[in-house]
Amino acid sequence: MKKLLLATTATALMAGAAFADGHAKEVKLGIILGFTGPIESITPMMADGAELAMKEVSDSGMLLDGAKVTPVRADSTCVDAAAATAAAERLITSDGVKGIMGADCSGVTGAILANVALPNGVVMISPSATSPGLSTAEDDGLFFRTAPSDARQGVVMTEVLMEQGIKSVAVTYTNNDYGKGLADAFQAAFEEAGGEVTISASHEDGKADYSAEVGALAAAGGDRLVVAGYVDQGGSGIVRAALDTGAFDTFHFPDGMISAKLVENFGSEIDGSTGQHPGTDSPGAAKFAEMAGDAFDATSPFSPESYDAAALIMLAMQAAGSMESSDYKAKVMEVANAPGEQIFPGELAKALEILKNGGDIDYVGASAVELIGPGESAGNYREVMYEGGEEKTAKYR
């Protein structure tokens, strides 16, 4: 019996070694995004962005001496933590992915990190999870994001408002992780800068009537109303009621509200309002759009961030000379930041070459990546203003 056991183990070991050897030239990367659910309209372009980077690296034949990169897609559903965890589990245990590009929404990203990535020791880089809570989540150095934390958006909002001389605002937020996280981050930043938040009240999406909310906001007063909600949901209802009752004339809109729909709904009624959403004028974005061509819409939200997330995983592998998460996780910050040669989209082959020869790179990519603190994007924002019924770019910061 003992012999049989030994023999079996030996065979299994050898088979395993042979298996690993045969696939040394293939690196599988997981793409886990909400292909069904509330953000299903933007996830296909995000996955396309990530796969573009993988194809570029595969075609160059430079990664780890000619390894091919194969993407494996899985559905995070954006809202169902159990389904997302199961999908990630499958990617790691049955598909054997070496890194995960994802997940997308903050809630499922935290669930996958805690339940799957951490126990299995696999690196994950999210292109779009923005909750400030993820900055302090336990991650063993495995979790990064190419999207900025909403704590950063709170600071940017404060700067925009302060520059306009707005010292007192009322805040209303949609009652979920995104709205609450952003409203709290903003309030902390704004008060630290010497501003006053007269009231911070939540609103439920899809409700029958918002006059009670607007009544309270109006009574509290303020120079401007900050609406941290969704344009397709209660956010527009609040703005409508605030305009109709004359409670507020101008507003400030964070990323959830900025959309063509906002202008369509309110036109010139919101003239003088401001807002901001993640965006950059770095040359990388244009190069990325050029590379994508007609294959997919490269300006779709978080598509550039997805390209960058996938690129960072592969560049870190090259820098570490290994496709194992435990080896390359320490290299992610190194390749993303200075010093070194700046790398834009389409230059991944050059970057791999430099890394192979022991050089340094500073990955800029499509979204001007600069990783700070616990491995999250420093965040570039596009400040917008509304004039004559149109949305205009004020500047980038």
Binding site: A201, A208, G215
Partner: protein, 336 residues
């Protein structure tokens, strides 16, 4: 002057929105209460009946708009209203024939009826989404305001503004007309009287030769009219979205029960009680107090009794209190 400012601020943020919302709830609750009083079950499909009727109004409105027909300063949807009511009535009568009639003949318990209406609700829910889609639809046109904030400030020289939307005005006026018509119908006409007789005592009514099928038919017709009008007014004032109409069911039932199920007067009172309790208790009185109180007494905080997060809790606390102390509702309806 300060007292005037306080009054205007109060009217702008509490009185006017509360009155319009109350009128919308009251019309919805009237439909629920009629069905409960005459057909003797709680109709869970009422919110979706409103959505169904409103959907037809919107489709006809779009037709009118593209044909260049408009009603001048008032919304075109008012012209389309009769078509919506007709379509909704046809649908309700068909539902009654196909679904409810069978259970009525079987003389099933009211709770079975409630479950049946739940099924009807899901079907209507799906139909509305299939035909017009789950998204927001905007169909309001005409003048937006009777009085706009800026005009009011210029007119009066007050610091506080007052806005009355056209839709709010229309809502209240229409509600008054509809309620007056309904009471005249119930109290003065032969059919109305037979409906009330049927509601008071079914067996006695049958013995005195009242045709039950006729009563049922008229009830559905009136319910279709009430639901379509309530839904259209609500859609004009806010916006049309099938999911929101489904959610309207809760405040509408709360209104009907608070007022006393089966009692039309109670439904109207209940609608306003629910609407105003939501707004009054969660309103921050800082501004109003700021105008009328001497400086020493002015509140530092917002002077808000409850945060707006709790506005639904408020209506349900009132509902529970009424059920505990006056199970038949404020206006002596049938006990639940």
């Amino acid at each position: 002057m300060d007292v005037l400012n306080a009054l205007v601020a109060f009217a702008n943020f509490v009185l006017i929105p509360g009155t319009a919302y109350g009128a919308q709830l009251a019309l919805g609750a009237l439909g629920v209460t009629l069905i409960y009083g005459i057909l003797r079950f709680s109709n869970f499909a009422h919110g979706d009946t409103m959505a169904f009727g409103t959907m037809f109004v919107i489709l006809v409105t779009w037709g009118f708009q593209s044909a260049g027909i408009s009603a001048g300063p008032v919304p075109t949807a008012l012209l389309a209203l009769p078509f919506g009511i007709a379509a909704c009535a046809l649908f309700l009568l068909a539902t009654d024939k196909v679904v409810y009639k069978f259970y009525r003949r079987e003389r099933v318990k009211p709770v079975v009826f409630v479950m049946v209406s739940l099924g009807v609700m899901f079907v209507m829910n799906g139909l509305v989404r299939l035909i017009i889609g789950p998204g927001d639809q905007r169909f309001a046109d005409g003048e937006r305001f009777i009085i706009a904030v800026r005009d009011f400030r210029e007119m009066t020289g007050l610091r506080e503004g007052l806005a009355i939307k056209t839709t709010q005005g229309i809502t209240v006026i229409t509600a008054v007309i509809v309620v007056a018509l309904l009471f005249w119908f119930l109290n003065k006409t032969r059919t109305g009287k037979s409906m009330r007789a049927f509601s008071d005592n079914e067996d006695l009514a049958l013995l005195s030769g009242i045709n039950p099928e006729r009563v049922v038919m008229y009830t559905w017709l009136i319910v279709a009219a009430l639901a379509t009008i309530a839904g259209t007014l609500y859609g004009l004032d806010k916006s049309f979205k099938p999911f929101t109409y489904f959610q309207l069911l809760l405040p509408i039932f709360a209104a009907a029960i608070v007022g006393g199920l089966g009692n039309p007067l109670g439904a109207i009172a209940g609608g306003f009680v629910i609407a105003f309790s939501e707004v009054l208790i969660t309103y921050a009185y800082k501004k109003v107090f700021g105008y009328i109180l001497p400086e020493a007494l002015q509140p530092d905080g917002l002077a808000q009794l409850l945060s707006t997060d709790y506005k639904f809790a408020v209506s349900f606390v009132i509902l529970i209190a009424v059920l505990l102390f006056k199970p038949t509702g404020l206006f002596k309806g049938q006990s639940v």
